[in-house]
């Protein structure tokens, strides 16, 4: 069966202040109908830019998609005209953004904001759109949904606003929902509720999901497979359980190590990987993670490791991936 989404060698760059920012450097992955995928990585690793490129949301200036393909149901999204991509966005692919406080228009009632995609994509009139909007709000668990269509975003809490964003994403029954760190801006308890909600909705509605997060632990229970990004590259790709059990890239190992254990939960600072995040202004000549990698050898600085198969359905971009099988904690001797 053909994949729902097949991304090949996607390259996106930004041009600002006379420098080039290499935000996404040739990433490839596939996603099937109803499948769920997590994209994880530290902030600045190109997760958002990677998915926004698919939806035509990168605008020049300053950014430009410079290469690759993104086949969605057989059509290359990157080659669609602006009016064609607008028929896909919001209809077949929907996106929920990171910050619910700023992602809803502050001066428009939420009923209108929910209704506008219904009216555009589903050909509903105003009244039908409002009825459907109330149903959607009820679906995402907003109390008294029908009475709140005329309310404005500032009249809702952060968690409620994210529910509204999700309702907006689901409005036209998309085949793919992209959630870009939808819980990062929320309290821990609200985070869990939103995660549960999305899981439940996926079971009910059956759409495919791309869940972006910088927190590996958060996505553990809810996705089929994981892509790990660093510096605009995919460094590891694996089914979720395999990845947790045996990460085969030092960066993934580092991310897992950075997950706070129960005892560390209450500490102020989370453990994180040592070293500076990469400078995206310079094209790399070796492994982008090498400067921070405890396992780096001469070869890592000289040649970019290709993403290679390291097991069934899994790939890793590390010259020493095979050797890592014996390592349990980030920084352990090989």
């Amino acid at each position: 069966m053909a994949h729902l989404l097949e991304v090949k060698d996607l390259v996106t760059r930004f041009y600002s202040d006379r420098t080039t920012i290499h935000a996404v450097n040739g990433i490839s992955y596939t996603l099937d109908e109803g499948e769920s995928l997590a994209i994880v990585g530290e902030s600045g690793s190109g997760k958002s830019v990677g998915v926004m490129s698919l939806m035509g949301l990168i605008r020049y200036p300053p950014g430009r998609v410079e290469g690759g393909e993104a086949l969605f149901k057989g059509r290359d999204l990157l080659k669609l005209s602006p009016s064609e991509i607008r028929k896909v966005c919001g209809r077949e692919i929907a996106m929920v953004f990171q910050d619910p406080m700023t992602s809803l228009n502050p001066v428009l009632p939420i009923g209108l904001q929910l209704g506008e995609s219904l009216r555009k994509h589903m050909g509903m009139d105003k009244a039908q759109a409002q009825v459907r909007a109330a149903e959607l709000l009820a679906l995402v668990g907003l109390p008294n949904a029908a009475d709140r269509l005329k309310d404005f975003p500032f009249q809702f809490s952060g968690g409620q606003r994210q529910r509204i964003m999700i309702a907006m994403g689901l409005a036209c029954d998309p085949s793919l929902l992209i959630a870009d760190e939808p819980t990062t801006a929320l309290d821990v308890t609200i985070q869990a509720q939103i995660v549960e909600l999305v899981k439940e909705l996926q079971q009910k509605l059956g759409m495919a999901i791309i869940w972006i997060s910088h927190n590996l632990a958060l996505v553990a229970g809810m996705v089929d497979k994981v892509i790990v990004m660093y510096s605009g590259y995919i460094v590891e790709q694996a089914p979720v359980d395999d990845l947790y059990e045996r990460p085969l890239h030092p960066y993934t190992l580092g991310l897992l190590h950075a997950i706070p254990t129960l005892e560390q939960r209450n500490q102020e600072r989370l453990a994180s990987i040592e070293g500076m995040p990469p400078d995206l202004r310079k094209p790399v000549t070796g492994c982008p993670f090498a400067p921070r990698c405890p396992y780096a050898i001469e070869k890592c600085l000289q040649a970019i490791p290709p993403l290679q198969a390291v097991g069934p359905q899994r790939t890793s971009a590390c010259w020493r991936a095979e050797e890592l099988r014996g390592v349990h904690t980030f920084g352990d001797k090989l």
């Binding site: 949301l57 991509i85 607008r86 966005c89 700023t102 992602s103 809803l104 502050p106 555009k120 404005f152």
Partner: protein, 318 residues
Amino acid sequence: MTTYILRRILISLPIILGITIIVFLLANMMPGDAVLAMISSDTPMEADLIKLRQGQLGLDLPLYVQYGRWLGNLVHGNLGFSFQTGEPVARMIVTRIPATLELMGISLLISIILGVILGTVSALKQYSALDYGLTLFGFTGISIPDFFLGMILIFIFALKLKWFPTSGMVTAGTDFSWGDNLRHLFLPGLALALVRTSVFMRYTRASVLEVINDDYVRTARAKGMTEFVVIARHVLRNALIPVITVIGVSLTVLFAGAVIIETIFQWPGIGLMFISAISLRDSPVIMGYVLVSAFVVLIANLLTDVVYSWVDPRIRYE
């Protein structure tokens, strides 16, 4: 909403009372003398004649009595009578204000529409040749005073090219027709509108640039909304909120600017009436005008607040 407006009007009442006192005192402290201005300087100055006129006009009474009388009349819609013509001031204002409102209204409408459109285009095409051109136009427009622009327009379009008449509201001796009226309106309207257009354009541009990268704009695009809907519904609804204040403030500036433009173009509005009243020391007319302008300021502020709370729900629900 209605209670909000009513409350605002009630708050305005003491302000209005204060204004009447200031207006009254100012008019009385003005240098010059109405009676002397009335009597031509080559008439042999009869002291008795002057006394008699002063008595008729009530100018010999103590100031507070004069104020009390004036205020009492004011409440009844009686603004007194022109020293010069004996015409009731209220009627003078009522017959002249439509001309002023026409001039102000058209200029304001044109400058809002043009200013917002050009400002938005300028922001969307930031750093393009068009943007630089509009920026240059904007700075020029802001730096040229109304009256100077008015004189340039008269010189070029009325005196040299003879495309438009130099003065008045209609061609003398003809029946009123809209075409003729609009031809007369064109130059003074343009003189008043150009400066405002530049101001609104600059503010709109800055404001659009401020919100264009906001998250909700990206959300609208991600929903597949057309560029027009994204700009008109999502960007402008937010970007115009600060511009509304600027428009509100400029209403009063426009009213003041109309005085000069009406004088240059002999546009028979209340600005022209005010200027001739000043030269004749016709204080009831002057007071009438100043009162009207005070009202204009109050109404402009009220209007600004109402529109503001209408477009920004965060204010409305406070």
